[in-house]
Symmetry: C2
Subunit: 408 residues, 2 copies
């Protein structure tokens, strides 16, 4: 046990000791939905986008990377408040195109796009983020077959890394994008192909809580974009400098301070406008827009004491929320912020481990955490669960009941 505390979100009101979401007590929502579920709060999604816009310079476009949460209702809502959507597969593309967003504002990134993926994307008229020379040639061929001129940006593997990043997506040898130093040659080849050049996608990493690291990456991305633009077959329309904004999950982590990020990006804008007239800067965010707006909820099925240690056994576990179990990209398992949703301020406290129903010791939602003393039927809540939850989990594992997702 550490004295370092979780940063619990204060976005969800508590009344009569019970968490509220979407204007309803959690206990009532749990009856409405049944079983284990994710709940996402529409108000919090809107507030977050508004907050991001208020912090970023005017004219910067905010895109939603829907892989973070592809629930169709969430995407429908996000489409009304962001400037564009990034998709990572053909099925995500379908969901994005079912919204009111225009095809030109949809982009498609991913290192392994299939022929089907490319065909759908080109037929739809969205922007492909090209990840290799081979992909560019395929796109040109398919565009020719379809009689549709592909719109394409080049995804650049930069020659720098996003420091202190939860996941590094650029710098060094990577499967993502085209090495920066190879881009001029690729752009030269593009001139001989029937492709509409849109711009660059420069994405260096994700889940970063340090303003300075993000500022540095943004400055380097803008510089790299300007440098590469000299080789472009036509003026840039888009300079997507990625996102990388993180949210606090673990004890001791604090929210990202966006103010200096926005301020420094503002300082870069005159340079962008003079060097790339007509291009707009895109910030692409997934987790940062949706992560804190969602909770995972699962009822307690059993309460056991084994050799002095208290276990709460819940109806769902890693099959619904792999990341909270510590099995998705974490080297050392740490607890997400977890609480008893219907006993938020419960005076009687205890140290418990919350485990899911699976026959595996990996199925842990909270390891030796202090929370209100819970009984069978109480509702365990995992906060910071709006991103990379249901779809990033092995929901068929042990053929346990599915998890429901609701937008409230």
């Amino acid at each position: 046990m550490s004295s370092i505390k979780h940063h619990f979100p204060d976005a969800f009101p508590v009344t009569d000791d019970c968490l509220h979401i979407g204007g309803m007590p959690l206990t009532r929502l749990a009856r409405r939905v049944g079983g284990s579920f994710y709940a996402y709060d529409r108000r919090l999604l809107s507030e977050r986008v508004k907050h991001v816009r208020s912090m970023l310079p005017d004219g910067v476009h905010v895109h939603y990377a829907m892989k973070a949460n592809p629930m169709p209702a969430v995407v429908q809502h996000m489409a009304t408040i962001v400037d564009g959507i990034d998709v990572a597969s053909r099925r995500e593309l379908k969901v994005a195109l079912d919204t009111t967003i225009s095809a030109e504002e949809v982009s498609f990134a991913g290192p392994g796009k299939s022929e089907c993926d490319l065909e759908s994307a080109i037929a739809a008229g969205i922007v492909l983020n090209l990840e290799s020379n081979l992909e560019m040639e395929r796109a040109a061929r398919i565009g020719h077959e379809l009689g549709c001129r592909p719109k394409a940006a080049v995804r650049v593997n930069p020659d720098f890394e996003l420091k202190s990043s939860g996941m590094k997506m650029g710098g060094g040898s990577k499967q993502f994008g085209v090495d920066a130093e190879e881009v001029p040659e690729m752009l030269r080849r593009m001139k001989n192909l029937d492709i509409e050049f849109m711009g660059f996608h420069i994405f260096s990493g994700s889940q970063n809580l340090k303003s300075e690291a993000i500022i540095e990456a943004q400055e380097k991305s803008v510089d790299l974009g300007i440098r590469l633009a000299q080789h472009a077959p036509s003026p840039l329309k888009i300079l997507n400098i990625g996102g990388g904004f993180g949210i606090p999950y673990f004890p001791g982590e604090m929210p990202l301070d966006l103010a200096p990020v926005g301020e420094k990006l503002g300082n870069l804008m005159p340079k962008v406008e003079s060097e790339m007239p007509g291009a707009h800067v895109v910030i692409e965010l997934g987790r940062y827009l949706v992560g804190e707006a969602g909770i995972y909820v699962t009822p307690v099925i059993d309460r056991k004491i084994s050799r002095g240690k208290v276990f709460l056994v819940t109806a769902g576990g890693l099959n619904h929320h792999l990341a909270a179990s510590g099995n998705f990209g974490q080297v050392i398992r740490k607890n997400y912020p977890v609480a008893v949703g219907n006993r938020m301020n419960g005076k009687e406290r205890e140290i418990v481990s919350v485990v899911g129903p699976l026959c595996t010791p990996l199925d842990i939602l909270a390891e030796s955490m202090e929370m209100a003393k819970a009984e069978v039927g109480d509702l365990i809540v995992v906060f910071q669960s709006g991103a990379y939850g249901a779809t990033a989990s092995p929901t068929a594992f042990l053929s346990q009941p599915d998890v429901t997702e609701v937008l409230v």
Copy 2:
């Protein structure tokens, strides 16, 4: 790079440089199935069960823990060659009951059984492995409501651990089963309930490659069973001493030597027969029966060189095979045995990283491994993939294409 090599299975024949499975070249099977797929070999499943039986003493029952691979066709096949099936959920129960196995030979373990789970199990007449006092009381109540007397074994959390085990499931404080020292009291309570006592389920761990560790756990399990049997309300019918037999995945790991395990268990049998007349010993195996009979296959979509490093980008990755990506219970990522299925002995070799199509650096199937030089369209094969594959993976992640499973 290490000089320590993978133990590649020799079960799949290679003809004309191409792996064969189910009597068919992999290239042809890939056309039959399409996309990325798991293929399980019926012959290898049968041979493995036969081998296990030949190594174990007469009279020991072999059960299949279907959570390792719940594909209905696989379970149908297994049901014809094993003595019983262990299920971990209501949906697994349905699949087991759809086979020819009799309900009495089906058992249900899991620390978080819901009311629905218990109701199905009791109505079916299968054997519940009770994990707590509360679960026992629930079972008795539901049995009373249904007018069906529940059959139940007690799952025991032993007072020892399975040494050198991939996953420890017993010993110390655990969510699984009832602490050994609490079992006598539980059995006393059971006498007052309308429950048919069947025996004990003592499971200490899984994925173990050391004969000595398994032998030690089996000896201790038998002793514990005999000790606890003195408190039983009626003579034992079942003493399930678990399994824990592992298969080699990583460089340097060697197959488990079953001969001494069988021999030592044979030495224990007279004691079991004299102390528990009429009881049969059950060995419950999942991964060991199916793991080596299956491969995961995914085509190469792109071949990229980034700053001197070769990447093969495949159509499927961690969304289909989480364990091979190193994100399922591994602390340090290690490579599964991976090869180019249509160039098994390819003379031109190179060091490559095989990555899936997802926009995350976690999506790795092989990191800097030597294999035959591959081209777009070649088939990457991940061996040792018959257990904890498709259902243990986040198949909805990024809404990429599903993985198909075939039994050949």
